[in-house]
């Protein structure tokens, strides 16, 4: 890869932003451009992912960008969140743009609630990668938790993992969030008993505390070619970026793959991120893994190859995700503890870790992995890049 992340920006994360998604996106982008030492007028490429509500032309008007050479949206909703870096790197490589901003603005709590039990009269939302949702809607399988619980219960059946095993991961995420002032659950760690006392959402897989936080806010990154990143204050190299969408697989309503106990989209992703690039899993100092719901955190750890099938429950219980573990994971508290900016806040945390500015800093972090089931990136400190 020949691209680098040179700026990050975000708004506050809250339950009620009190302003438009376009303004939220603009604030995060202005902060990210300033962080990169660049001017908003220099932005000539923009990328987000479904289901961001911000209209690109309104965003360009607000930013005062002079000429947009390239724009894109990655399908699969949050599962496509890390695909923005793959798209940006590709655009930079072919010269379609020089300064790309990737963003996601969301009012998942005060606006259209992300976890609400809403029925849609349409077969799918356009370009979402979720056409099978029309086949689950008439059965009340209409929330992200209900879609994913069907996969999670099969995983529990096949692996022996229990909801308590998921709870141990949540306790770690909440411990990280407790020391992150930007997190929704700042100052509010929980015990496994607290977790087990939270009410069922989708039994026997998902309790309330297994769910990510519906959040208002925005996050943004600035990406440029690596050869000009050296002029910016704190660049982070994109060492690998990839996506994988398999036959019959979807995001959320993924119910038709042969073996739903294995997130085989993540298996394919890991082959592209690691096996195809020569980057070793052992090189990863900190991992940010899309934890919309706690079961898929364990399932992705296995699919990405950090432990074998059925071993994630022991991997978690043995403390590997913690600050002293072999794979400190979701050190901002994750989507469960910090908030749900549809996955892009995980990417910002990876950049902070490699810059050495994270609140729960992993000492001397040089390589970070960020994945969202089917899209992912490996980021590296400039000194670590080959």
């Amino acid at each position: 890869m020949t691209a680098a992340i040179v700026g990050i920006g975000q708004t506050e994360y809250s339950k009620s932003a009190g302003r438009s998604e376009t303004l939220l996106a603009g604030e995060a982008i202005l902060a990210a451009v300033a962080d990169a030492g660049l001017k908003p007028e220099q932005v000539d490429g923009i990328v987000s992912y479904t289901i961001d509500p911000v209209e690109e032309t309104e965003l360009v008007r607000a930013l005062g960008a002079r000429e947009i050479g390239w724009s894109s949206r990655v399908p699969y909703g949050g599962g496509g969140s890390q695909g923005v870096l793959l798209h940006a790197a590709a655009a930079l490589a072919v010269g379609a743009a020089d300064v790309v901003v990737a963003y996601r603005a969301i009012k998942a709590r005060s606006g259209s609630r992300f976890g609400a039990a809403q029925l849609s009269g349409r077969p799918t939302s356009a370009h979402s990668g979720s056409t099978a949702m029309q086949w689950s809607n008439p059965f009340g399988v209409i929330t992200p938790a209900s879609w994913m619980s069907l996969n999670a219960v099969r995983y529990m059946h096949a692996s022996g993992a229990t909801n308590e095993d998921f709870g141990r991961a949540v306790v770690q995420l909440r411990a990280y969030a407790a020391t992150n002032p930007a997190a929704h659950f700042y100052g509010r760690p929980i015990t496994l008993e607290d977790h087990q006392a939270s009410r069922w959402i989708a039994e026997p897989a998902i309790r309330l505390f297994d769910c990510c936080q519906e959040t208002d806010g925005a996050a943004a990154l600035v990406i440029t070619r690596a050869d000009r990143a050296g002029d910016t204050p704190a660049p982070v190299a994109i060492a690998a970026a990839a996506g994988a969408g398999l036959f019959e697989e979807e995001i959320g309503s993924n119910h038709y793959r042969p073996d739903l106990a294995v997130m085989d989209g993540s298996v394919a992703l890991a082959k592209r991120l690691f096996d195809a690039t020569g980057i070793a899993r052992d090189d990863v100092d900190v991992a940010l893994v899309y934890d919309a719901f706690s079961p898929i955190l364990l399932m992705q750890l296995e699919a990405l190859g950090f432990c074998g099938f059925g071993e994630a429950k022991d991997f978690v219980a043995d403390g590997h995700l913690g600050p002293e573990g072999s794979l400190p994971c979701n050190t901002n508290g994750g989507l469960i503890g910090e908030g749900y900016i549809h996955g892009l806040n995980l990417t910002l945390e990876a950049v902070r870790q490699l810059r050495g500015t994270a609140v729960n800093q992993v000492p001397d972090a040089r390589t970070a992995l960020v994945t969202a089931s089917r899209t992912g990136v490996v980021l590296q400190h400039p000194d670590a890049a080959p």
């Binding site: 976890g115 609400a116 039990a117 809403q118 029925l119 849609s120 009269g121 349409r122 077969p123 099978a132 029309q134 086949w135 689950s136 809607n137 008439p138 059965f139 009340g140 399988v141 209409i142 929330t143 209900s146 619980s149 069907l150 996969n151 999670a152 219960v153 099969r154 059946h157 009410r199 069922w200 959402i201 989708a202 039994e203 026997p204 897989a205 998902i206 309330l208 036959f247 309503s253 119910h255 038709y256 739903l260």
Partner: protein, 141 residues
């Protein structure tokens, strides 16, 4: 409180050009699937091209309506007024090798097990349509 429903509240399925034949059959009390006229393989959900041999021709095949529970979840929250809770969501693997998203009915949520044998029944929806749901059969009843 027990809510007595005077008419179906379950939402009607979304009908598209590619799914219309399936839903019309279901509303007539038939569980069907596309079977490719070229390679004879079944496929579901419906689609306009066989993904295995790329034939554009298919027939609607009447399925046995029996299968086993591949996975399930007891849905508690959040709730939509169209459904009664707790609602049993399930994935059923049909004997013909197809999988469907569905509900389990005529069973207590605590009795649901992966691998149990089930058979199709039809639940009415608004707009006088129906969807296939499943109930225990044989030793699992």
């Amino acid at each position: 409180m027990t809510v007595i429903r005077l008419s179906a509240t379950r939402p009607a399925p979304v009908v598209t050009d590619d799914s219309e034949a399936f839903w019309t059959a279901v509303s007539d009390g038939r569980l069907v699937a596309q079977r490719c006229s070229g390679c004879r393989r079944f496929r579901h959900p419906p689609r306009p091209i066989c993904p295995y041999c790329h034939s554009l021709e298919h027939e609607l095949f009447d399925l046995a309506g029996t299968g086993t529970v591949y996975s399930y979840a007891i849905l508690h929250h959040p709730q939509n007024p169209a459904f009664d809770y707790p609602l049993i969501a399930a994935l059923v693997d049909l004997d013909e090798g197809l999988r469907v998203v569905t509900n389990l009915v005529e069973i207590d949520p605590s009795e649901v097990r992966i691998g149990m044998e089930v058979e199709v029944v039809f639940a009415p929806t608004v707009d006088d349509m129906a969807v296939p749901v499943f109930r225990p059969v044989g030793d699992d009843r």
